[in-house]
Symmetry: D2
Subunit: 356 residues, 4 copies
C-alpha cells in the first residue's frame, strides 16, 4: 500500500516534535513536508531546531530520525496543498486561524490547535468515543465549499475525562461531572511553558481558559453530532510538578444507580467504537482499570499501551451526587491527548474513507 | 505572669520538632519536659536527635534553641504528670492510645494524634470555628473520671476546609462539599514519609484513611457539641511534590444562593469565634482571600500570617451543585494544621479557664 | 539620622522585587524612587507588576509593602539623579550598559548587573572579603570624570566561593580551586528563567558564560586592588531542581598544608574585614561550619543568618591537589548573592564615607 | 540453543524487579527461580510484592511479566544450586555476605551487592573496560575451593566514570581524576530510600561510603588484574532530585596533553574490549558524545541505547590539573549501573566460556 503523503505545520515546536515521533515508521502515513515560521524556511530541520546558544533543540528522549533531520523546512505560507494528502497541524491557535482554512480549501487538516474546536460544523473527534461524529465533515465541506476540511482533537484534559465517561454514558447514563485536574507541565509547551520557579515545591491553581474548554468539549463529544450532551460539568484545573500525564479526580453522577463493581466492569469491558478498534495506533484496551489503591500514578501509568490507554483507579461511591461514583484517571497529555491522538484521528478518517 | 509548664511527648520526631519551634519564646507556655522512646531516655535532646550515620536530625531551617538542645529526654512512660500543667502530644496514634489516657488522668493533653478524635466525649477544636465545643471537656472528665482530659486537633486536611466552610455555614448554610486535595509530603512525616522515587514527577492518588477522616471530622467540627452537621462530604485525597501546604479544590453546595462576591465577602469579613480572636498565635485574619486568579499557591501562601491563615482564591460559581460555589484553598499543614494549631487550642483553653 | 534617598532601576523584575524586600525598614536607606521600562511609567508599582492574564506579579512570599505598592513607577531614562543619594540597579546587563553610566555621572550606582564587573577601574565588592577594594572608586571617578560611580556585586556563584576562600587565603594561601556548582533556578530569573520541563527530574549541565565569570571574578576579588590573584580556577556550573541557594562542591589546593581541623577552624574563626563586621545587614558570622556530614543543604541552610551566611560542611582532605582540601558550601543566591549583598555593599560604602 | 537456568535472590526489592525486567525475553538466560525473605516464601511473586496497605508493589512502568507473576517465591536459604546454571543477586550487602558464598560453592553468582567487591581474588567487571579481569575467577575458585564463584558489578557511580576514563587511559593515560556526582534517588532504593522531604527543592551533599567506593573501584577496574591503577581519585558525591541517571562532573589530568577534539574523538571512536562488543545487551556504542553544550541531561540521555550507553558532553580544557580536561557524563544507574550491567557481565562470562 502506498503511504499517504503528510505535511506538518508547526514542526519545530515541542508539539511538532511529538508529531515527528508519532509518525515515525507509520504504516499508513509518511511525513514528506515540514513547515515552520519563515525565519526557519530553507534550513534543514535539524538546523531549524537549533537555538542561538548552541542548544540542539530536539527535546524528546528518542533520537531525531536522521531522514527527518535532513528535510528542508518550508514556511507555512509556502506549503503547496497539492504536495500532500493531508496535513497535521501543531501550530499555536492564532496561526491556526489563518493557516488551517487556507490548507483546508484543498486537503484535510488534522489539528491539535483549539482554533476551530467550537465551530458548529467541526467535529471534535476521539475515535473510540465518537467516531460517528466524522459525518459532520461532509456538512463542513459543503457549507464552506472546501475540498478539504479541518478536524481538531480536543484539549488534552478533556480527552482522558471523555474516554472514561463514554462507557459510563453507555451503561448508566451520565448527568453530572465534577473534576479537579492535576496537570503536567508539558501541556504548556516550552514558549514560555511553566517556569521551574513557579512549579517546584508548588501547585498553580489555575490554567487560563482550560476549565471552560473541558466543560464545553465534554458536552460536544458525548453529545449527538450537532447537539451537545446535557451533562453538567464543573472543573478546577491545576498544574503540578509532573512532566507528562494529566491526573484527574472525577466525581460523576449517573442516571442509573451502579455499584463500584459495575462501574469498574463497564470501563474494563468497554471496547470503544468499532471503527477505532484496530487502527495502527489503537491500544489493546482504551481503559486500564487498576485495583491498586495507589494507582493510577502519572509516572507509572502515563505510558500504558504506548500512552494511548487511559488508566483508572480508586473507583468508589460518592455520597454527594445522585448515583454518584468517583475515580481517578491518568491520561498521557502529549500522546493520546496530542500528537498520537491526532494521528489516531487521521487513521480513523482513512479507515472511514474520508481521508484518501 | 508565670508561664504554664508544658511537657511534649514524641519530641524527637518531625511533629515534635515543630512543637519545639511553635513553643519557642511563647508568652504563656514554657517547654519544661521532653519525652521520646525509651532508647533515647537520659540523653540530651540534641543527642537523642542524632542518627547513627552522623546526621544531626534537626530538620527545621530555624536553629534548634540551645536551651532545648540541652534538656534531658525522658521516656514517655516515665513522665510525671505533677511536673506539668499540660502536655502536648506528637506521638503516633498507637502510642497515643496508651500514653495519652494515662496522662489525662491528671493533666490536660493537647494532641496532634488521631487516636481519640472520633470518641463522643472528645471535642475536635479549631478555635475560630468551634471554640464552644470545649464545653464537651467537662462531660469527658466526668464520664472518664479524669482530672485532666484529651483534646485532639483535627487532621491537617480537615482544618483548612473547615475554616473556609465556617463563614459559608454562618452566612448561607452549607449542604454539600466535594473536595480534591493536593497534599504536601510533610504531612506523612519522615518515618518513612513519602519517598522521592514515588513523588518526583508524580502524583500519588491515595492517602490511607485520609478521605474518611476529612468527611467525619468536617461534620463533627461544623456540627453541634454532640451532634454532627448534616452536610454531605465527599473527598479525593492525593499527594503532590510539595513540601509544606495542602492545596484543596473545594466545590460547595450552599443552602441559600450566594454570588461570588458575597462568598468572597463572607470569607473576608469573617472574624471567627470571639474567644479565638486575640490569642498569642491568632493571625490578624483567619482567611486571606486573593483576587489573583493564580493564587493561592502553597509555596507563596502557606506562610501567610505565620502559617495560621488559610488562603483562598479562584472563587467561582459551580454549575453542578445546588447553589454551588467553588474555590481553591491553601492551608499550612504543619503550622495551622499541626503544632501551631495545637498550641492555639491550648491558648484557647487557657483563655477559657479550662487549662490553668 | 536622616536616611539616604535611594532609587531602584529594574524595579518590577524578580531581582528588583528582592531589592524592595531587602530595603524594607532599612535603618540607613529609604526607597524613594522606582524605575522600570517605559511601558510601565506612570503606573503605581502594584499595577506595573500585573500581568495581562490577571496575575498580580509580586513573587515573594512576604507581602508587598503597601507604601511601595502605591509609588509611581518612572521610566529609567526619566530618573533625575538629584532626587537620590544613590541608586540600586536590578536591570539586565544590556540596559545597565546604557543607564548606569548616565546615573553614575552624578550619583553612586550599586549594581547587580554584570555589565561593568570586568573593567579595570571597577571594584567587585564582597564587604567581608575585600572591603579595601573600595579605594578603586576614587580612581574610577577621576578617570571617568564622574561625580558618582558604579560598583557591581559579583555573580551569585562567585560570592559563596570567594567568601569561603578568603579565610583559607589568609591562613594558608590558596593556589588552585576546582568547583562544581549545583545552582538554583532563581538565579535565572523569570524571563524566561528555567522551564519546569527542563528541570523536573533533571540536571542542566551548563549555564551560559557562568564558568568564565566565576573564574575571572574569583581572581579579581581575592587579588590586590588592581592585580588579580594568581590562583588557578576551574569550574563546571550546573542547574538543579532547587528554588534558592547555590550548592558548590569545592576542591582547593592550599599553599601550606593544613588539616581538616585547621581548615574548619580558619573558617569558623574568620571575622571578615573589620569594616564589614557590624553593618545593618551583616550576619553574626560570615561562615557557618557544620559537623553534620549531610549538611549544608540548600533548603535547610540557605536562610542561615537571613541568607547572609555561607554554610560549609563536609570538609575533607583531597588526595589529588597539592595540600588539597575539599568541602561543600551553600550560599543564598538571591540574598547574599544579589539584592541583600548589594545593600551590604552600599552599607559598607556609607560606613567608609564613600556614599554620603 | 538451550537457555541457561537463572535464579534471582532479592527478587522482590526494587533492584530485584529491575533484574526481572532486564531478563525478560533474554535470548540466553531464563529466569526459573525467585528468592526473597522467608516471610514471602511460598507465595506467588505477585503476592509477595503486595504491601499490607494494598499497594501492588511492582514499581516499574512496564508490566510485570505474567509468567513471572505466577512463579512461587522461595526463601534465599532454601535455594538449591542444582536447579540453576547461575544466580543473579539483588540482595542487600549484609545478606549477600552470607548467601552468596553458600551459592558460589556450586554455581556462579553475579551480584549487584558490594559485599565482595574489595576482595583481592574478586574481579569487578565492566565488560567493555576490563573484560580480561575475568581471568581472576580461576584464582578465586581455586583459592576458595568453589565450583562456582562471585562476580560483583561496581557501584553505579563508578561505572559511568570508569567507562569514560577507559578510552582516555588507552589513548593518553590518566593520572588524576576529580569528580562531583549529582546522583539520582533510585540509587538509594525504596527501603527507606531518599524521602521526598529531603530532596524536593534540595540537594543532599553526602551519600554514605559512596566516595570511598568510587575511589577504590576506579583504581581496581582501570588497573591490572591484581594491581590497582596508580591514578589519584577524589570525589564529592551528592544526591539531587532526579529519578534515574547519575550525572558526574569530571576533571581529568592526562599523562599526555590532548586537545578537546582529541579527547572527544577518543571517546567517540572507542569500541571497548572486543569480547564485549556484540553481547545481547551491548549497545551500539558505549559512549555517546554530544556537541550540544546543554547535554548530557539525565532525563533526556539516561535511556540512550537502552540505558547501556554513557552520554558525555561539555568536553573542555581544565586549567588546574596537568594536561587537564573536564566533561560531564550521564550514566543510567539502574540499567548499565545495576541489573542490565550485571546481565551484561553474565553474557560476557558465557561468551568467554566461564559460565556454562
Amino acid at each position: 500500500m502506498k503511504k499517504l503523503r503528510c505535511g506538518l505545520i508547526g514542526a519545530t515546536g515541542l508539539a511538532g516534535q511529538q508529531f515527528v515521533s508519532a509518525l515515525k515508521d507509520h504504516p499508513w502515513f509518511e511525513l514528506v513536508g515540514l513547515a515552520a515560521s519563515p525565519r526557519n524556511a530553507g534550513k534543514p530541520y535539524v538546523e531549524a531546531l537549533k537555538a542561538p546558544n548552541g542548544m540542539l533543540g530536539w527535546f524528546l528522549p528518542e533520537e531525531l530520525p536522521p531522514a527527518i533531520a535532513k528535510m528542508t523546512v518550508q514556511s507555512g505560507a509556502e506549503l503547496k496543498a497539492r504536495d500532500f494528502d493531508l496535513v497535521f497541524s501543531a501550530v499555536e491557535s492564532d496561526v491556526a486561524k489563518e493557516l488551517e482554512p487556507k490548507l483546508a480549501r484543498d486537503i484535510p487538516v488534522i489539528s491539535a490547535a483549539s482554533a476551530f474546536r467550537y465551530e458548529e460544523d467541526v467535529p471534535l473527534l476521539i475515535p473510540p468515543v465518537n467516531a460517528d461524529h466524522s459525518k459532520l465533515i461532509e456538512t463542513q465541506k459543503k457549507r464552506r465549499d472546501w475540498k478539504g476540511f479541518i478536524v481538531p482533537i480536543p484539549n488534552c484534559t478533556t480527552t482522558g475525562l471523555a474516554v472514561t465517561l463514554a462507557p459510563l454514558e453507555s451503561a448508566f447514563g451520565v448527568q453530572a461531572v465534577m473534576m479537579t485536574s492535576l496537570q503536567a507541565v508539558s501541556g504548556a509547551g516550552r514558549s514560555p511553558g511553566v517556569i521551574g520557579l513557579d512549579i517546584i515545591d508548588n501547585v498553580i491553581p489555575h490554567i487560563s481558559k482550560e476549565e471552560g474548554k473541558v466543560e464545553i468539549e465534554t458536552k460536544k463529544i458525548l453529545g449527538g453530532i450537532q447537539s451537545p450532551h446535557a451533562v453538567k460539568v464543573s472543573c478546577t484545573c491545576t498544574r503540578v510538578a509532573v512532566l507528562e500525564g494529566h491526573t484527574e479526580a472525577a466525581f460523576v453522577g449517573l442516571k442509573k444507580k451502579a455499584s463500584v463493581q459495575e462501574v469498574a466492569a463497564a470501563m474494563r469491558e468497554w471496547k470503544g467504537h468499532e471503527a477505532a478498534r484496530s487502527l495502527p495506533t489503537s491500544p489493546k484496551r482504551w481503559i486500564a482499570v487498576s485495583d491498586d489503591p495507589f494507582r493510577p500514578q502519572p509516572r507509572l501509568d502515563r505510558d500504558a499501551e504506548g500512552g494511548m490507554a487511559t488508566s483508572v483507579g480508586r473507583i468508589r461511591e460518592d455520597g454527594v451526587l445522585e448515583n454518584g461514583v468517583k475515580y481517578v484517571l491518568v491520561s498521557h497529555n502529549t500522546k493520546m491527548g496530542a500528537a498520537k491522538g491526532a494521528v489516531l484521528v487521521a487513521e480513523l478518517l482513512k479507515q472511514q474513507g474520508i481521508v484518501v
